[in-house]
Symmetry: C2
Subunit: 335 residues, 2 copies
């Protein structure tokens, strides 16, 4: 079953069939109808390989992420795939893990599949040693296909970024705590990605602006470490260090803070306010429920895929979109 069968059935040449399939204008209406009927009747589907050979595209987008089982990433992947499929683009998913050496490897792999674009989901893909040309793997890739970064920033002619203003979000949340009179705020974070750094600097900037001595304690934990967060806070507690609020770069870490407070009879939010990040379902699981920063994954993904579709259609798109996140107040903060 191929294009010849259709052409025979419709009594036209394969060129005409091809034109109909590709929505080419110059086909007489009557001919078009005849061909469409033949296609339908035979249940014909063009061979994607042959099509790809001719067009050098397969309507497929490569989605790279470090770990699609992470709640935040899983949501992002879901929305990306969903929005792209609305426009008849398929998604090839590839998880790289967190080893930067693998970023280049998987980028090459996905490019070798001749995807039409690559989406990097998560700021860990942006490495921080410019002198080592660490990010060249992305720049190189951008010479082949347009590149889209979700929560990553990189300049480049063929590179398009959508980022959350993590700095601002954390800054404002910290300011809120400071206005509540909190002076001993612990910041828990994980990783050293661009996003992590922005969040952290948002926090320290807020303290500095408020003239609070920047002797806050903070540490570096894994992204899923509820218990590491809890025991870190316990170690501070055991040292009798004052602590009246906790901010976290991930909801998981904030969950650890809730557990810590509960175990030590510390009242939330009276004695300890807690703010998480991502506004994931975890924020609704704890008691009291977590106040958390929501960066609107769905909208971010929509913006990114809109840009992607524009670029693929040959239109212009902004190289840099900055979105703001919102604080969702629940029960671990005052008010």
């Amino acid at each position: 079953m191929n294009i010849y069968d259709v052409s025979q059935k419709a009594g036209v040449s394969i060129a005409t069939v091809s034109r109909v399939i590709n929505g080419n204008r110059s086909v007489a209406d009557s001919t078009r109808r005849r061909v469409e009927a033949a296609i339908k009747e035979l249940g014909y589907e063009p061979n994607v390989f042959a099509r790809g050979l001719g067009l050098n595209t397969m309507q497929t987008i490569g989605i790279l992420c470090n770990d699609s089982s992470d709640i935040y990433i899983a949501n992002a992947v879901y929305y990306l795939q969903h929005f792209l499929s609305e426009h008849h683009y398929d998604s090839i998913l590839c998880c790289t893990g967190n080893n930067p050496d693998d970023f280049r490897k998987y980028t090459k792999m996905i490019l070798s599949k001749r995807v039409d674009a690559v989406i990097y989901t998560g700021s860990q893909f942006i490495l921080n040693h410019p002198e080592d040309h660490d990010n060249n793997y992305i720049v190189d890739a951008s010479k082949e296909v347009p590149i889209f970064l979700l929560n990553g920033m990189l300049e480049g002619e063929n590179i398009y970024c959508v980022v959350n203003d993590d700095h601002l979000a954390v800054h404002d949340a910290a300011m809120k705590l400071i206005r509540h009179g909190r002076r001993h705020i612990v910041y828990l974070y994980s990783g050293t990605t661009l996003s992590s750094q922005n969040k952290l600097s948002g926090f320290t900037d807020a303290l500095n602006e408020a003239g609070i001595p920047n002797r806050i304690a903070y540490t570096h934990l894994g992204p899923k470490d509820i218990y590491a967060a809890k025991s870190y806070l316990e170690s501070l507690y055991d040292q009798n260090l004052p602590m009246d609020a906790v901010m976290a770069s991930e909801d998981t870490l904030a969950v650890g803070a809730v557990k810590f407070a509960e175990e030590h009879g510390i009242r939330i939010p009276e004695d300890l306010e807690i703010i998480g990040y991502n506004n994931s379902i975890l924020a609704e699981c704890t008691e009291p429920e977590l106040t958390s920063i929501d960066n609107h994954v769905e909208k971010v993904c929509r913006t990114l895929t809109d840009n992607c579709l524009k670029v693929l259609a040959g239109e212009d798109a902004p190289h840099k979109v900055i979105r703001t996140a919102d604080l969702i107040s629940r029960e671990t903060t005052v008010n």
Copy 2:
């Protein structure tokens, strides 16, 4: 840059280059080395489209799921993609939603991409009205490529299933509660999938075996409805119906049960035991932490991909693998 360039550089014909690329035995070692050197030097990568055209395969597996943002599914997708990529298979991800009409549509779509196999992740793909030939869309697909069902059961020559014994897991967990003296167990569940039905019947069978009048209350909620679960329990409570344990088909629903108990000053586990399902991270977020049934997603996925790779290599594989789940005891049950 194509196979001709390589052949020229190596001073051989394209046929020989092709043989080297495909690991064909009948190439002299010296020739092979020469070709490999040329490939390396030129950084040549075969064109996947042309390759696909010739071989009619692209080393790609289609993964269908209803919603990849669901924690359980996200984990499954992660492991599937990961294990397949270890064997140089790429994954096309496609989320169908929960409308059965779309199952056929997306199946067709993914088949039109000429994937080498299709994996259906989740039991909702198995519909329950045999008289309507509801599942023919899978059977039809199995005529084109091998089909793998994760947590779904369907007979068929080219269909391979890996399922958890949900019935047994829930049955045993219920028995445990009964042994603890619980007589008023509420079962919360979501959906009407095969898996849901098995869980439910495991529950009712246990009650029957124990001679407990099967006047348990249970209800039908969305899979992510923490609050629906909570308010459903509240409605029972308001009616003064006795209740000394809650079992749930999803951790989210069990989280709702914890919230309910907390709000009404009901002691866990003394007055109310609670058992969730999936042993997700949610089980670790509540206080007390949830006892939950773990069905070992990673191993299930490993078994499935092992089978898949075998079948694609032309080897035999079992059409039906049944795995057992384990109860992970935490703080919402006695002992």
